[in-house]
């Protein structure tokens, strides 16, 4: 085990990692930016070190600052949390070059899974279905029509050189395809200087389901079930739950088993998450892998009783997993509500301020992972996550009933939060039926979604 770990992150995850280190009996140093000097993690830490100014590029995103801080404070490992440097394979490599351990997959594993395209190919080869698409680039209109026919409409035209949704177009008929190919080609040429296009099946009412895995250095891996992250607003998750209401128990097990088999075969190591799109027929298509601890990891902890952060640290330290798939049992149902400093009445614009009064919800099955405290001044420099309310129940209806109580109990005065959208969700018929897809909110828009709940 490590002797001392540098926590190179902030907010609730810094607090979470600090707890994990202490549970393991490992010393920890919290690396913080000037803006986080009064943060809860810094207050709770035995040791804390300022690594730079508020600007994340010069602090939490600065590999030299983070690594130098680890060295001068006598750490032998760095926990990057999520976001920031957590999936930067270059960073992981430099960490290793300085004789320190990156807590996450080893650099060569990160590198292997760095490209989404290559990872899809790799894991596709290990038996995971990926979203059907054209065989390579579209040569001409006829080829496009043939490939679309084979894939099945609707299809998505994607520029090879694009990214982040730019230049994409969805078509439902051959006629639409012919027209759109011309436009996309010229747009792609203009935007990226490269007019190659390919096709992908368009999954309309899809759900976002992800499988949590943990694999040790000895190739021994387990899955810890899946999570449903379909509830999103503009592609940002804001509620996660497990198990997914989208699939029956047999289908869930099968998906999770295929996932763990594939990543072990592909040489993955440490904790990670495989993301899938699930279509209305229940087909799951692999999209990408997240090589880090995720924001929503606590719902898996509630179901399995397994601490994912200490597991992550132990694996990085070279320890064997210490348990097998048969030891992993899932109990009940859990939901995680991301509590953000967002003004739901003004298009979710970020809010900032000082926490004047803070009451943490409690009771059976209720867990609040947060860095808030009365008097805390939320700095305006980082993301809007104030904490995560995690609620467990023996079944989904009980978990939902408890969630309503817990959301009502939560008091954060001095800041505007997004609690209203969670409360709206908990009276939404589609959500209550467990039939939500990723466009649940965006289909009608947040304002209409909130207004419908108020009626």
């Amino acid at each position: 085990m490590f002797s001392k770990i540098l926590i190179a992150n902030r907010g609730e995850i810094a607090v979470r990692i600090l707890r994990a280190c202490r549970t393991l009996g490992v010393e920890a140093v919290v690396a913080y930016s000037e803006a986080d000097r009064e943060s809860l993690a810094v207050q709770q830490a035995d040791e804390a070190i300022c690594i730079g100014p508020a600007d994340a590029k010069r602090s939490y995103l600065s590999a030299p600052a983070v690594i130098s801080a680890a060295i001068v404070s006598g750490c032998d490992a760095i926990h990057p949390g999520y976001g920031f440097l957590s999936e930067d394979e270059g960073f992981a490599e430099v960490v290793g070059a300085h004789g320190l351990t990156f807590i996450g997959p080893p650099p060569q594993v990160l590198e292997r899974f760095a490209s989404k395209e290559a990872t899809r190919h790799l894991l596709g080869g290990e038996g995971l279905a990926t979203i059907p698409g054209s065989n390579g680039m579209i040569r001409d209109d006829l080829h496009g029509l043939e490939e679309a026919e084979r894939i099945g409409y609707p299809v998505l035209i994607k520029p090879s050189a694009g990214g982040g949704g730019k230049g994409m177009r969805m078509v439902r008929t051959p006629r639409e395809l012919e027209a759109a190919l011309k436009i996309c080609r010229s747009e792609a040429r203009a935007a990226f200087g490269d007019d190659s296009l390919y096709l992908e099946k368009w999954l309309e009412d899809n759900r976002h389901v992800e499988v949590q895995v943990a694999v040790d250095r000895f190739g021994h891996g387990v899955h810890l079930g899946e999570r449903d992250c379909s509830v999103q607003r503009r592609h940002q998750k804001f509620l996660e739950e497990a198990p997914t209401p989208a699939l029956g128990e047999a289908a869930r097990n099968e998906l999770a088993e295929r996932a763990i088999k594939a990543v072990v075969a592909a040489g993955y190591e440490n904790v990670g998450t495989l993301e899938f799109l699930v279509d209305p027929a229940g087909n799951a298509y692999f999209i990408e892998i997240n090589c880090r601890i995720q924001v929503e990891h606590p719902i898996t902890e509630m179901l399995t009783g397994i601490d994912l952060v200490t597991t992550q640290i132990r694996i990085a330290a070279g320890e064997p997993l210490g348990f097998s798939q048969a030891d992993v049992t899932l109990r009940g149902h859990a939901l995680e509500f991301r509590i953000n400093a967002e003004d739901t009445e003004h298009d979710f614009r970020p809010s900032t301020g000082t926490v004047e009064r803070y009451l943490v919800p409690g009771g059976p099955g209720v867990r609040m992972d947060s860095h808030l405290f009365t008097g805390y001044e939320v700095p305006p420099f980082y993301d809007s996550l104030l904490g995560k309310l995690i609620v467990w129940g023996p079944d989904r209806p009980t978990a939902i009933a408890r969630s309503r109580v817990a959301l009502d109990e939560l008091v954060v005065e001095g800041l505007v939060t997004n609690v209203a959208i969670h409360q709206a969700l908990l009276v939404n018929d589609i959500f209550l039926a467990g039939e939500m897809t990723t466009n649940l909110v965006d289909r009608v828009g947040s304002a209409a979604f909130l207004a419908a709940a108020a009626r």
């Binding site: 010393e27 000037e34 000097r37 009064e38 207050q43 709770q44 830490a45 035995d46 040791e47 804390a48 070190i49 300022c50 690594i51 730079g52 100014p53 602090s59 030299p64 600052a65 690594i67 130098s68 801080a69 060295i71 001068v72 404070s73 300085h98």
Partner: protein, 176 residues
């Protein structure tokens, strides 16, 4: 709310005016002279409080001493600690602070007593092998070093005092 009667109002006024005439001047003198943050005086049901605004008189982050050198104390105790009140800026001197987290190195040509100008490079901090310059924040004379060459320092940590030119002479006279 019902109107207050005239007698009650007059009594209030008398109390407040008593405060204003008798106590306020003393209060003001005291607060002005000592630099205390806040003073409050009560008379009967009334109290008057004078408070110095924190803005403009303390500089915030730079005045908190570095934590990197601090060894791990009992964290339970630490968690119970209230943040220490921030010290007022010293009118006689200013500290040069660390531009990064790393190992501090002195410059051979700079030592206690060296005369420097604002912006002069007076030391460096080695961040993963890359030296980052520590610059003098003001014109003055290099005073006491707060760290040794080779010490681990964190970002923003005060490294060395620069005595202000205008007061350095006066003080060195006193110190001698």
């Amino acid at each position: 709310m019902p109107d207050r009667d005239d007698a009650a109002r007059l009594a209030d006024h008398a109390q407040i005016e008593g405060l204003a005439d008798d106590l306020l001047p003393a209060l003001i003198a005291k607060l002005g002279a000592t630099g205390l943050a806040e003073l409050e005086v009560r008379e009967g049901d009334w109290r008057v409080r004078l408070r110095r605004s924190a803005d403009g008189t303390t500089s915030g982050a730079r005045t908190t001493p570095g934590r990197a050198a601090r060894s791990a104390g009992g964290h339970a105790d630490h968690a119970h600690q209230q943040p220490a009140p921030e010290p007022a800026v010293d009118p006689y001197r200013a500290a040069a602070t660390s531009p990064g987290v790393g190992i501090s190195h002195s410059r051979p040509e700079i030592s206690s007593g060296s005369r420097v100008r604002a912006g002069d490079r007076i030391a460096s901090v080695d961040v993963l092998g890359i030296p980052q310059e520590v610059v003098a924040p003001v014109n003055g004379i290099v005073g006491a070093g707060l760290v040794e060459s080779g010490d681990a320092v964190e970002y923003g940590q005060e490294l060395v005092w620069i005595e202000l030119i205008s007061t350095a002479a006066e003080r060195s006279g006193r110190d001698a």
